[in-house]
Every structure is written in structure tokens, then in C-alpha cells.
Amino acid sequence: MKIFNFHLMPYAHADLEAIKRLGTSWMTYPNSYYDPKKGADLYHEYLDQLEFADELGFDGVAVNEHHQTAYGMMPTPGVLAGALARRIKNGKLAILGRALPLVNNPLTIAEEFAILDNLTRGRFIAGFVRGIGVEYHTMGMNPAESQERFLEAHDLIIQAWTRPGPFAFEGKYYKFKYVNPWPRPYQDPHPPIFTPSSGSLSTIRWAAQHRYTYCQTLAPIASVAQTFKLYREEADKFGYQATPDQFAWSNAIYVAESDEKALRDVRPHLEAYANEFLTRDPVMMAPPGYTSVESIKRMRALKSFMQGRSTAEDMIARGIVIVGSPNTVREKLAQYQDMAGFGISLTKTQFGTMPHQMVQENQIAIAKEVLPYFKDRLPQPTKAAAE
């Protein structure tokens, strides 16, 4: 298993009471709550953490993109990846991912990613996403065009990386008389492509068709396993067998001396993450056309279910996160790998309000107690999987 250190870079000093009162930490949570002095310190701590992860032997580091939210301070992740590119000496550098339909000119993403691939001499991983529903409000893009724009932007970027330029591209949304980006990617034909998603069937099918690594965003392990199974079935239909490196599970891990201490330490930060930083008005998340009518109806039906607060115990029990002693964490990670069959773990070591020193201790513990045990570990067939 490859274990990446994944960061969301939350604004950890967010006013949790204000978020509760407003019912959102996204879009309409006023940016007057952002203190640039505290924010600047956080950026430096978070970048230090990712550089530290590389020194500790994590297989890679990863950032992502979200807009107008305390949940994550990376609206332009390329800037942060650029800051990391000369400091990450060993592992991969991944942006998981950039939201292709949110820009009017996806060629800028082809250019940005190609630079990062050159800077890292071929250790860059390119993530492509659609962005989440609320981002069609914050970025002023039409959600009804999201799917089509994503596919067309993807085609444009891949062509920009692989077709000898200059050539013309005449799509429905993007039209360029000249496509001839400098630099070209370092990797041949282009960086590996990861497709993070919350599990929509159309994305799973599309990723399987292109053999892109599918990343399941935060979800209970049972549903992760189910989603990966769907991908494997789609891969079968496309005439090949999917391999573990095509599956990445996005999780959070916290290790301490004992299960009790780990739970005690992690509770306020994990619960702030699950309840406040992830808080958003459901209406924001489902702009028309972004998802199918069936998905919107499913979300509406789930509304009552989602209204209660998540507890740390609940998130641990459902296998959304792994928290505990070294032994517990190793056992669970192995069990979950066997259940779901992934070859990549995208692991957050910081979440919610967790402070710098606690994150570093967690990183050290994971590097010492977890990484060495999983270095070449592949999913083992389980009884359940064999059935």
C-alpha cells in the first residue's frame, strides 16, 4: 500500500459557534471571520507538515481545491503545490484535484500541471474533479453544464499534453485556434490521473473506462468497498481487470499510545471537522443539473438522517476514520484494505482544529508504527470478498 499524507488546510481558528448559528461554513460564512495573521501561520504550519511527511517517508503528499470556505483554504492549489514542489524530495506530489468545469480556460490547468510535473521531475499526480455543488454558486458556473464541461475540458487537457502542437481545438465550450502549451509534461505520455469522487456511477464508469485511479472521498468503509466493487465490474465490462493501484481511499488516521488516549485526544478536532467544517446548507450542495434528479431525491430522503451530530465513536465504528493504538490502527487498516481492495491510502493527519504539535506527533507515530508494516502490502482476499 502507498500511504499519502493528504491535507485539507482548514481554517482551524474558525468560529465554530458562528458556523452553528449560520448553518454553514461555506459560501455565506462571512470572510470577516478570516484573520490573515492566523491564516498565514496556518499555511506555513500546514506546508511544514507536508514537507515533514516527505522526510518521514510517506509515499506522497496531496492537496485539493475548494472555494469560499473555512473547510479548506486552497482555492488555487497550484500555488501550494508550487511551494511544495522543490521541497518534496522523495514522494509524489498530488493535486486531488482541480475542478475542471470551474474555469473558463482549462488550458491553464494543462499548463500548471505540466510545470509541476517538470519541477518534480515526473513525481506529479494530476487530479481531475467537477467541484462540489456549492462551487457552482461560488464560481458562477452553470451546474447544468458541469458534466459536459468536465468531459470536454478533460479531452482538451489530454490532447494538449499528448498531441504535437500547435493544433486547433473546437469544442462546444472551449475553442482555441492554437493549442501548443509549453512546457510539455515530464512524464510520458502525461502524469497519472486520479479522479476523486463521492461515488457517482457516471464518474465511476468514466474512470474505469480510462483506467484512472478512483479516489473515494470520506465515506464509511462498507460503502467504499461497494463503490470499488462497482468500478471493478465496470472495468470487467471494458475488458480488463482493475488493479489495487486504481483504488485510493481517502481517510483520516490518528495514532496514540492507547485506544483510550487516542479517542480522548482526537475527539474535539474530529467532531469539529465532521460537524462544523463540513456544515453546509443542503440547498447549496444540489444546484439543478449538477447531479441527476434521482440523486437529488435520494439526498432529500437522507436529509433527516444527516441532521444529527456525528460523534468520534460513530465515525470510528463506521470505518470513516481510524483512531487508536498502533496495533488497533494496523489491524483496522489491514482489514479495510482487504475489504475494499485499495492500493493507496490518502491519509489526513490533520483535521478540523487539530494543532500543529499534535499533528507532528501523529505523523511521527504513523511513520514509525504504520508505514513500515504496509510498504509492499497488497489486499488479501477475504472470505467476504471471495463470495
Binding site: 457552482y136 454558486h137 458562477g140 458556473m141 452553470n142 451546474p143 447544468a144 453544464e145 446548507d281 440547498v283 447549496m284 444546484p287 439543478p288 443539473g289 434528479v293 437529488i296 431525491k297
Partner: protein, 262 residues
């Protein structure tokens, strides 16, 4: 009076048309409630006009046409429909998004049009006069925001938000987003050509419209040559439903006056 329902196949799509009454043709283009049923104000209009209410392509559970990207596409479609139905002397009226379509249509070609009536129409942006974001609220709130009279809003919610129509409502929303999301509810190019409208034009507006404040009525009136602006008191965004008597009498008097003048 119950309308006659028919279907027309045109431009690779199928639309439903409700039609009732006799007299000069009055085509009514509805707004976001476009899949709503036949309402009393249409009965009243049908006493005086041949009332024709088409359901916009892509609404009512029909697939979204491949050619549909923006409101201007609807305008061209309805010009095709008027040709197909061989309508002449049309009194064209539109509410909300339907008003926007009607205005776009009239900037292109008024040969088949006798008069234009815009009712709390979308389509313009006025600096300093914000509009409500109808995409950032629940369906209940969206209806509440449309009415001045809260009791009427409650009745509309009970009548319209029924499980049977959920699929159609959600599908309609996708088409509404496709055509009106960005820029939100207007086209910056439309105002440049409103001076081309060369038929008598009536602007009807609810004084208490919270989606599109009354200043928008005055702006339409300023931009369309000779337009007459009528504000209905104690009325929200949907005069045909909130003040049907005033609405019908304004539109009827306007058409009659134009006939007398012609």
C-alpha cells in the same frame, strides 16, 4: 372552461399546448411554474381571447432539446412555432422567465405580433437593485418569496409541492438553470436591442415583487419605446395568480385600446 390539449412536434422536440377561447390569439409564456395546470386567470382571458399556452421545450418531463443553451434559443423556437401555427396578430404575454423569452422574441421579429405584455419579467440587470437568488432556497421558500399574501403562498405550496410532480419540478429546474443560472436571470446583451421592439408594449408588475423589485418595471418601460407601465398594489411576483382580476382587466383593456387605435 377546460382547455384543449394538443402536442406539436417541432425542432426535434415535442411540446404540449393548452388552448381555449375565441378571439384574437393571446400566447402566454409562463415562468418557472411552467408545468403548472390551467388557472382561473386563463379562463378569464379565454372569454376575450383565443388563449394559447405552450409548455416550454424541456419542461413537463420532456427531454431537454439539444439546441437549448440560453433564453435566446427559446425566442427563436417560438418564432418557429408561430410560423407553424400560422398565427398572426398575436398578443404575446410572458411572466418571469416567459417574459424574458417574449422580449427576446420581440427584438428579433414582430411581424406576427400585435402587442407585447411583460409581467414581472426576468432578463434585465439594474445596478444597485439586487434580485433574489431563486436557486438558493428550498422549493417552499421559493414559492413563499413569490407572494405578498402569505396565506396565498401557503395554499400554493400545498397545491404545487405534491409528490406526484416532484420529478417534473426537478427536471424543470435543470432547464431553468441551463438557461438562467449565469448571469443569474438576465442577459447583458438583451437591453442593447430593446429599442427595436416596434409593437405596443405593456409592463405589468406586482408592487411588492421581492424577486424582481419594481425598479425593473420602470427599467423595461424606459428601454422599450412607448411602453406603458402598470403597477398592481399589494401584489408579489405573480400578478396572474395573486391579483387575477386586475391582471386580466389590464391586459384586456390594453388589447382593446390597441385594436381601437389600429
Amino acid at each position: 372552461m377546460s382547455p384543449v390539449e394538443s402536442f406539436v412536434d417541432l425542432d426535434d422536440c415535442r411540446i404540449k399546448i393548452l388552448r381555449a377561447g375565441q378571439g384574437a390569439p393571446l400566447v402566454f409564456l409562463r415562468g418557472a411554474d411552467a408545468s403548472d395546470d390551467w388557472r382561473p386567470y386563463l379562463d378569464e382571458l379565454a372569454r376575450r381571447f383565443d388563449v394559447i399556452v405552450p409548455e416550454h421545450p424541456g419542461f413537463g418531463g420532456q427531454p431537454k432539446p439539444k439546441w437549448l443553451d440560453r433564453i435566446a434559443d427559446y425566442a427563436n423556437f417560438y418564432l418557429d412555432l408561430f410560423d407553424r401555427l400560422e398565427l398572426t396578430g398575436v398578443h404575446l404575454a410572458g411572466h418571469g422567465m416567459g417574459g424574458w423569452i417574449a422580449a427576446e422574441l420581440a427584438t428579433r421579429d414582430t411581424r406576427r405580433i400585435a402587442s407585447l405584455t411583460l409581467v414581472d419579467a426576468q432578463g434585465l440587470w439594474l445596478d444597485g437593485v439586487p434580485t433574489l437568488d431563486t436557486f438558493l432556497c428550498t422549493e417552499e421558500k421559493a414559492i413563499t418569496d413569490q407572494f405578498h399574501d402569505t396565506k396565498l403562498a401557503e395554499a400554493e405550496i400545498a397545491r404545487r409541492l405534491v409528490p406526484d410532480s416532484e420529478d417534473i419540478r426537478l427536471n424543470n429546474q435543470v432547464v431553468i438553470a441551463q438557461t438562467t443560472w449565469q448571469p443569474r436571470g438576465y442577459d447583458p446583451h438583451l437591453r442593447k436591442w430593446l429599442h427595436r421592439i416596434d409593437v405596443p408594449t405593456l409592463i405589468i408588475w406586482g408592487a411588492e415583487d421581492r424577486l424582481l423589485p419594481q425598479a425593473y418595471a420602470q427599467e423595461w418601460g424606459r428601454l422599450i419605446p412607448g411602453a406603458q407601465v402598470e403597477i398592481i398594489a399589494a401584489c408579489g411576483h405573480v400578478p396572474p395568480i395573486e391579483k387575477p382580476a386586475e391582471f386580466v382587466s389590464l391586459i384586456s383593456a390594453f388589447a382593446a385600446a390597441e385594436r381601437a387605435a389600429a
